[in-house]
Symmetry: C2
Subunit: 553 residues, 2 copies
Amino acid sequence: MTEDLFGRHEATLTAALDAIGGRGYWSPYPEAPSGRLYGETAPAEGEAAFKVRLNRPFPLEQSGVDGWIGAEISPYGDPLGVTYPLSGVDDLIGTARQALPAWRDAGPRTRTGVCLEILSRLNQRSFEIAHAVMHTTGQAFAMAFQAGGPHAQDRGLEAVATAWRAMSRVPSGSLWEKPQGRGEPLRLSKQFRIAPRGVALVVGCATFPTWNGYPGLFASLVTGNPVIVKPHPAAVLPLAITVSVCRDVLASAGFSPDLVTLLVDRAEAPVTREIALRPEIRLIDFTGSTGFGDWLEQNARQARVFTEKAGVNVAVVAGTADFAGMARNIAFSLSLYSGQMCTTTQTIYVPRDGIETDQGHKSFEEVAAAIAGAVETLLADPARAVEITGAIQSGATLARIAGARALGRVLLDSRDLVHPRYPKARVVTPLLLTSDEAGAPEGELFGPITFLVATEGVGAAIEAAASTVRTRGALTAAIHATDRAVLARMEEACLEAGVALSENLTGGVFINQSAAFSDYHGTGANPAANAALCDDAFVADRFHVLQVRRPAS
Amino acid sequence: MTEDLFGRHEATLTAALDAIGGRGYWSPYPEAPSGRLYGETAPAEGEAAFKVRLNRPFPLEQSGVDGWIGAEISPYGDPLGVTYPLSGVDDLIGTARQALPAWRDAGPRTRTGVCLEILSRLNQRSFEIAHAVMHTTGQAFAMAFQAGGPHAQDRGLEAVATAWRAMSRVPSGSLWEKPQGRGEPLRLSKQFRIAPRGVALVVGCATFPTWNGYPGLFASLVTGNPVIVKPHPAAVLPLAITVSVCRDVLASAGFSPDLVTLLVDRAEAPVTREIALRPEIRLIDFTGSTGFGDWLEQNARQARVFTEKAGVNVAVVAGTADFAGMARNIAFSLSLYSGQMCTTTQTIYVPRDGIETDQGHKSFEEVAAAIAGAVETLLADPARAVEITGAIQSGATLARIAGARALGRVLLDSRDLVHPRYPKARVVTPLLLTSDEAGAPEGELFGPITFLVATEGVGAAIEAAASTVRTRGALTAAIHATDRAVLARMEEACLEAGVALSENLTGGVFINQSAAFSDYHGTGANPAANAALCDDAFVADRFHVLQVRRPAS
């Protein structure tokens, strides 16, 4: 039965392996929320499936359920009213450990087949998940579908394929035959088994619960580790649906559904610190604040901890051959999901004396005005704007915008937008500020807050960007320049500082985007993250090789 | 020039890659200390090269040398009289960082070629290194040659090949082309570069300075990290020669020799804690005590720390089809290098009621007596015995033997042996004790000290062995049994406890031996080590992938 799952999805796995080896474009999951691609009834059925979840308990048959909790409120206005089973840490760890041996002993091929089937089923649920993502994170629907559905599934598949590749490099056995001169050779028969580290914990975030959660979830699960999924209290539903799909597939394949469980808590009574320090927890994947990520790295010493934390993403504008395209591209990247992406640029360094462009010399003020103008144009029509900005996930971000006005000169103020369909939605336009280098804030200001910082020339801009990456961490860096020497200098600075670089994006690709199978998301080389999605280092330490050797007969 | 080094050694690399994939027997470096294999004059020249090093400064042209120190005393009796340049931590970190960019930019192929050339040159120096290993560790010459020379080189080559394989999986670039319906596809050109973590530190041990040092040294170096080698103060010379060879090859290939430097300290004024916490140190490989290894893991948080620490290796004797062979095999394994191997069994669990054998039922006492008798027979001739036991590396081990007599019933007392050629050598025979389960000491007793522990049946023996592995850690576990169910139970227990298992070794393979390219040394799954030599996890996190993407023209 489970062998069949591997066979059913083997072509997908093979294509994924080719893709991660070649790192071109590839995806098995269509990114367009289209009935033509997913079935004509899929959009309506997905929305209905989401709506039927509202205002009732979410069915998950976990052990040791002691009450039901849930307090999600859609950034578009209404409480979801969904409650989730409150299982205790002891119960979930206990059932996970009981489920482990059979899952381990099933071996890489069977586990990979099951994980591929889970991903396939998640793909079929993309519309339902999209609505769940939209109404927890505040993403606009199209983005919630793409990033929360197929792109998240891509990242999950990438993790499965990368882990499969790693496990496949270990042979199941060997004959070791050592010559002994004229005597009989020494002969040993050896067996090698993949063993999981133990119980894994995935700590979800509020903005991209599936996209950031799937890599760790699937990397741990496919390598044999039971996974306890601990969502952010504000974004439980997308991961609850995910856990539910995992459990269904596992049970159908003859395994304990308790290999994947949901651990919910209240914002006012978090349980992550408690479970993260339990000796049974041997893997932790975390996406969230620098403070908590650092705490996990420092304290959860019994576990291998993978973190994606906050950063201050940087850009350098040193010149361009497409001034209008550059301004449009930057404007879109700052507006997309209201800057609530871990990849959104926060600080744009521009030489005080301006830059050369296809439209002639542009002063610092002209560059700033062009970007501000492009944002205004992009978001001029509220009905179109809300489909780009989405809603603000957390009220704290609104407060942060308010406070940020005092941190620089306001270039383009943030204003409230009324969502045509969700009048209670928290929707705003980005806040753009200018400052000189000394005045720019050092830390992350999460949300639609961007600083254009005037520097003493291009060299200072590059050095300031690199310094920010080194000290604050960054997931993205960008440069606009036409001078090959300037590009080379930025490339060198980013190599040294340890951040991925995008050059001269003026068209339909944006700095925010990170494509599975091709882009390494994060590098592990700067303070923003201690790992990358998805390289060998992300999977190789999730399992051990246990060998048995004996004289060969 | 450096490209040529890769070409020169490519066949060796290819064979090594085949070997680590198939995990059969393979080695490019002959293990016999034979002039026929290494050149008729090699043995004498190697010994002469060693002797010429004695009683003078060791030539290493490092930066910031502030004096010369050295206090090695051969376990065979005499001080070596070698002094080493005392470079400061700041100086070595500074020169390492200066050397890094050119080494990084040379790329995986060039670095791999240089590392393969270093290994080839080390192989040519095997006789000299063997004498250095012998007169620092106390190993007998034949073992010092094998383990300190070719087998250490094997482990280094295994690390180079494993890292090359990992780096090779990252393409240098790609064209990312995403279809856009009827429109032009989005096209990005991407570059991927391997970037090292930073400066690496290798902390050597006193018993196997090269065998345990080379994996980390080569894994870090080949992935682009400059390496500071910090030997144990009692075993500097083998690593000083190694560092010297590394520096020669690096300089010949056009790189800074300061990519590999030697950091010496005095036993009474250690510097490892200081350098280990420096922010520039991003990789640490450590072999040594549990206490210091745990301290590194807990405190050197800025670095990725790989540790091999102490453990209590276990064996279960539940039955055998070759009672005499079993006793001989165990006796040899306990005597080899006087139990000073990280792989030597410390505790042998035997059912109190005895076992079934090809010679009929044997009581616990008869099993114990057979092993003790085999040790006595093996070591009856002092001239032959010293070639097995070698000398005791540290005086502390003699004191430990003395103290251990009170910890059980003495089955076979340790006695002093007079070495026929080195009358001042510290040479002893093993101490064997018996005890019941409650009385067996829990912690490691490093050296030739073995406990035969009577248990309430085979099940209790297996459970006691597994419990010891879980709580104290172990690098090896062994079982002798004829009952397939008993073997399966032990296999399951070792899989759960996370230790490699050897079954029914009664011939010419011993539990102590761990063969590169085939045996994973350590698992990372129990407290004795947090990594294995040499799997993907040992190399994958030593480098990052830094990407640059730009619109494709």
